[in-house]
Symmetry: C2
Subunit: 362 residues, 2 copies
DNA sequence: GCTCCTGATGGAAACGATTTCACCTTAGCT
DNA sequence: AGCTAAGGTGAAATCGTTTCCATCAGGAGC
């Protein structure tokens, strides 16, 4: 028994496919009587409009495409779920593509989504200032919004102010008594955010008259950063604080430091970026910049949908959402510089005294 | 300037659309000369086959649909990337749908993917034994493989042996001297895995003649489990080990215990399930059952693709992948009973000295 | 009574590909 | 030479919808 088509519904309702289509998709004028007959027929046959035929004819698919570097970083997973929420509220579905921090795959995936006639494209790209994927979208006329990327004006985006946020981190580290700072970055080529955060850190340190930051670039592909960290300490032995370009990296760095026999935060403080949930669960808890991740996805999709509803393209400018520095045990003394000043040097990782939380409810 | 269609390519190559199609998609016989002219024309025009027209006509879209409860748990994110790897190797793309542990959304999303003519469906469902989504797939003739779910026979799946793995955990806990075990579960209604792991734990304890496990069900939606844990300790104050149905939950539980003033593993040991990367980075490191997550996605997609290549449906049985217990600091003494014996007494409800196991491996 | 407009409808042409079928060559055999 | 088989090709049907256009009925306005 074949899947019913709109022609079957029309036949059963005693009308033409044209009328059935109008009744089902709310296109043109249909008499109340016809609408009822069509609805009844559709229900009786268990009919559902075929998204393919529909997309082919209408030129859009009723889906929002999402392009993200990876699902492995919960930041993107959350943002995608944010997009999904906004899309679902507007009756759209979501098509996800992951491109693994690879600019070529980025462009290819964008084209694939565009070919599928997505109504809009929400993307996080390697470099917003020079992105083939953005070009493709623009050229094809597909409305497009970036998320996480903080692009030069001219392209729609939802992000936080990465430089300012990095400045806040610099300030917190200095306030905690740290003086020799390092920045651990995912490769700059694959993340403009990472670069902006480094710039923000460097600028804030310069302004405060502090020593400029040491830089280590690592690959997101690696999980073990001991070698990179060891090299850093060989170069700059007295580093006392590391700002990592994202939280997952920060957690890996903390583990790496522990493996190298350096305690966090006693020997080296570590601060992340993003505010992923798991960062608050670890010990030491992760000091970080909390960003409204899911909200970023929701907002990006929202911009697209609002513009679509009004038949205009989305505003070509960045919507900057608020961020917030969250103190954590990995930057001891953010609220108590004295502790930081009295860091003790310890020979082994394992026996660092862990501070227990004295918080409890009631 | 319109997007070129296959007719434009054909015109430029001096042949009919039929021949152009055969040349581009490798359908029937085409002369070498024609193929070259078509290829050249397509390249010159920047032509790409339209996935929509193609899918409509062929009845399949060249995409694999993936249905997962959530992206928030990295386990699913990794598995999806596994599916993506296998799909990409076969020249297919992936359509992802997240349904938030909701059986109704599960069925609806499955239908939406089927409507899009996915070549196959890889799903993780709430309850494999009674899943509307699986029904829909079967009814529509869409090949379908479950992942993570360990279903009764009759449906294709890739999973680990949840009961056996839970048995391993029981054994490790007993070996570490723990005697009063609890199980912290995501709600059973939304995860058959969780239920199977509980059953495995209970069975192993029964066989070992040990006290049956206490059970706490919590919602995945919550992040703060203090209330649930406090209630558990009110009921069973001397619990000394908690098996959590997955790693993310375990990390949250460890944080909750810390907030309640119980130390891990001194007062209470915690073991998770899945082997997510971040579990190895925390302190204490998380003892857990490591499962081949990405491999599960790859294998599930692989089963579908292999079957498709041979024109038969995938074998209706579960492919059980190996799991491995990974000791961690959150279950002290799994490898070093002495440490366990000397757990220090703390002024909290967990203070009773517990008998330790005299057995040790190695 | 006549025109004009509006609302409801159906026929048929899109949308962009694939595939069936029939046709024509040409090569290979006897 | 005659016959068959196979390779190459194109016209046209098809997938399932939407939408343009024409048609028609009926009411309003003159």
């Amino acid at each position: 028994m074949r899947r019913p088509t709109i022609a079957d519904v029309a036949a059963r309702a005693g009308c033409s496919p044209a009328t059935a289509s109008r009744a089902l998709s709310g296109g043109g004028p249909v008499s109340e009587a016809a609408r009822l007959r069509v609805d009844a027929a559709a229900r009786a046959l268990g009919f559902r409009l075929d998204p393919l035929g529909r997309a082919l004819r209408r030129g859009r698919s009723g889906a929002i495409g999402v392009l993200a570097p990876s699902l492995a970083n919960p930041v993107f997973a959350e943002a995608i779920e944010g997009v999904e929420v906004a899309a679902a509220a507007a009756g759209l579905t979501v098509l996800v593509a992951c491109v693994g921090y690879d600019a070529a795959r980025e462009a290819a995936a964008a084209e694939a989504l565009i070919d599928r006639r997505v109504d809009g494209l929400v993307m996080t790209v390697a470099d917003a200032a020079a992105s083939l994927a953005v070009d493709r979208a623009r050229r094809s006329g597909t409305p497009c919004a970036l998320m996480f990327n903080q692009p030069p004006d001219g392209v729609t985006a939802v992000c936080v102010d990465n430089r300012a946020a990095a400045g806040d981190v610099a300030e917190a580290m200095l306030a905690a008594g740290r003086r020799r700072l390092g920045f651990v970055a995912g490769r700059f080529a694959t993340s403009d955010r990472s670069r902006q955060r480094f710039e923000g850190l460097a600028a804030a340190l310069a302004e405060a008259g502090a020593r400029p930051p040491e830089l280590v670039e690592v690959s997101y592909a690696d999980h073990d950063h001991r070698a990179a960290l060891a090299a850093l300490f060989a170069r700059a032995p007295r580093i006392d604080a590391l700002f990592c370009s994202n939280d997952m990296l920060a957690l890996a760095v903390i583990a790496g430091l522990r493996a190298l026999g350096r305690s966090v935060p006693d020997d080296v403080a570590v601060v992340g970026f993003d505010g992923v949930a798991v960062g608050a669960l670890t010990q030491p808890s992760l000091a970080t910049v909390v960003t409204p991740t899911a909200e970023m996805g929701r907002a990006a999709a929202g911009l697209l949908l609002a513009a679509r509803a009004q038949g205009r393209p989305p505003a070509p400018e960045a919507l900057i959402l608020p961020h917030q520095f969250r103190p954590g045990e990995s930057l001891a003394g953010a609220a108590d510089p004295d502790t930081a000043r009295q860091r003790q040097v310890r020979p082994s990782p394992g026996k660092a005294l862990r501070q227990t939380s004295e918080e409890s409810e009631t």
